[in-house]
Amino acid sequence: MSSSLDFPITGAPRQLHLAVDLSDAGAHPGAWRTQGSQAQQLFDANRLQDLVSTAQRGALDFVVLDDAFSLQPGRPGAHGLQGRLDAALVASRLAPRSAGIGLVPTVTTTHTEPFHVSKALATIDHVSHGRAGWQVAVSTTEQEAAHFGRKPAPTLEDAWAEAAEAIDVVTRLWDSWEDDAEIRDASTGRFIDRDKVHYVDYDGVHFAVKGPSITPRPPQGRPVVVVRADDPPSLAVAALRADVARIRATDVEQARELRDQLRAAAAGHGRDPDELTVLVDLYAVIGLDRASAQARLDLLTDLAGASWDNDSLTHVGTARDLAVTAEEWFAAGAADGFTVRPSSLQTDLAALVDAVVPLLVSQGIFRSEYPGTTLRDSLGLTRPANRYAAIA
């Protein structure tokens, strides 16, 4: 492969980033029916802990955990996997027995309290010593609205406007304690320096929050904010407030346009575009050869009783071909990396880590070990300054 990825300015090769989506039994709806899928342990922490260990073996940037206030859309009587755990609590459960790898639960903003969201994510960051992220999501269905009975389902635009406010207030609450607020000064009897603990006094369209947080500033300052830029409203929020934007694209041109659009919009908000990592969703069926990968996909499709139509990059083939595709998209400026969606977690995650990652490492575009201890370290993102300390 070429050496075109070397940055002449710094001399250091640009590194790509890899996340993996651990939702359900895999991205393919037939995955739970395969041998070894451990479908009966779907809600068992040990199954998830093993998957995180595998991802960590490959020094992947982070795992992402899907969540919603509704069941997976099912077809009555069909072969549908259903059931969810609270993703934030799963992430926390996974923290003490993992290291290096980021833990990114989906937490919604439509029917939740920003104050609770803020302290939950801050706590996952404390428990994991700086490995927490937050995949922001909204609830736009009548079904979810009826589960709360507080307000009608919002439009997509309204839901993301509220999400933008929620991200703002949540990050303010993370900043509401300065890093050195706790002083334990026995001579004066003061535990904190209260000049370093701040009210956020947020008064938005959707909510008002006084603050400060009850939880001291998390190790990363602010856990990493991930937004799936799937439509114009979420894309706008990603450009304004996300550290990582997930996009879907089926060809390299489409991805490059989306990435350029996100970077330009971020720059328009006065942000450094390199502080916004753009990851393309990559569905993967990995086999020893192309035919065996295709045969496994055929089996999955048969088990699901429906064809697998994805709206993003889909690879059915060998580890080598996947590495080549990843490098091409990366070199073309279509992606800073990928959120890999293994068709079947039990099979494709190990193939990704043990077969694809070593090829990317040998090409010099992926790490073989974690560069630091926090998710920000892995993503090459700076630890944000505290906005309240800056004012003081």
């Binding site: 302290k119 589960h147 400060p212």
Partner: protein
Amino acid sequence: MTLASRPDGRPRKQIHLGAHFPGVNNTTVWTDPRSLSQIDFSSFEYLARRAEAAKFDFFFLAEGLRLREHKGRIHDLDVVGRPDTLPVLAALAAVTDRLGLAGTLNTTFNEPYEVARQFATLDLLSGGRAAWNLVTSSDAFTGENFRRGGFLDHAHRYERAAELVAASRELWDSWEDGAVVADTATGTFVRPGSARPFDFRGEHFDIAGEFTTPRSPQGHPVLFQAGDSDEGREFAAATADVVFSAHGSFDDGRAFYADVKGRLGAYGRTEESLKILPATAVVLGATEADAQEKAREIRLQQVSGPTAIAFLEQVWGRDLTAYDPEGPLPDVEPDTANADVTRGKVRHIKDPAPVVAAWREKAAARGWSIRDLVIEVTGRGQFVGTAAQVADDLDRHVQEDASDGFILVPHLTPSGLDDVFDEVVPLLQERGSFRTEYTGTTLRDHLGLGAPRPAQPASSGTASSDAGRVLVG
């Protein structure tokens, strides 16, 4: 010495013990060099692992949703700041196997769909060890941190709590045990008909749909309740599995125990179905005199000069920083119009004048300084003595129905219960009053609680009449 039964012939009761993580009031001493972080996970892990090694029933974590304020500013004399309750308990599930994981979650600032799935998740992730301490609140001060604000009248807080529990039970019961079959051969993931829609219509909640989370090992988490008013006691009798009680002294404990257990019959419940566990502290010494001396030192650490002044300011409703904490009580009168000088604390004194008069009389008679007085009047019931004396005393409280056990509150993070684990627990085990091994896997097993109480039928009438019964009880 192991006794199979109590002196009156009734079977010997087993003591239930919880380990309370130190909180954010002046009970927790942070000036001691042994005091470690109240935020770092290693502190939580340390106490939980030690409690599990000692075969405790559960670990307990409290919650506060607004930093306390004193004279319009954030109170800075006690430990300030804590992590979020449920993520800490979920993380502790990774480093313990049997210990119950109990945490406070406010009933006013949470919605049933979210809170029910959080506790179902914690119970699934821990193999059946979750407990929810229901704390009601209605204050606008805390409400300022929430989108719905301080919307709740004081009178409605137990009504909402009762409905929140009823709605949560309906959600937990909407999936049957064993609903997830995941039959790879037939393609049946959820057994047909075993995950049902819910429909709960009450005064506070009007919700319907499908719950996301399969039924957890305990079915319902263990429910704790701490309110002490008449309404609170009635709510406990109707709803709770455990009462987190403030009645730690022997006579007071017996009266409270008899009162609350006496209310259970009206709800068709047995006395064994509700455990009463006072929060208390233990101070041990090689001799009783040693222990008393140590207890006095701890009280001096807990009540520093500035803490004593701040405490009096809560009652006086005015600035008293000009007074010497080692000197006599302030000669000014309390400012009754300014009773809210401290916000976010648990209890308020409604009329300070008689309290101040009584304190002046007491302090004058005994020659107490401000600090002496505060040490005296803020002292909570605790067990002080040699390990043998304390073990005797704890056991007596349980066998003679002043309690079913205790929630032990250490003054140091995280090592404050080490001497109890090492010295007192073995003595209780020798007496046959405390387990030497866990005999079950779930917290319900440890507490000797049966299967969870089923949800109220999903009609609006039942939901509101249940709440109404709590209010008039």
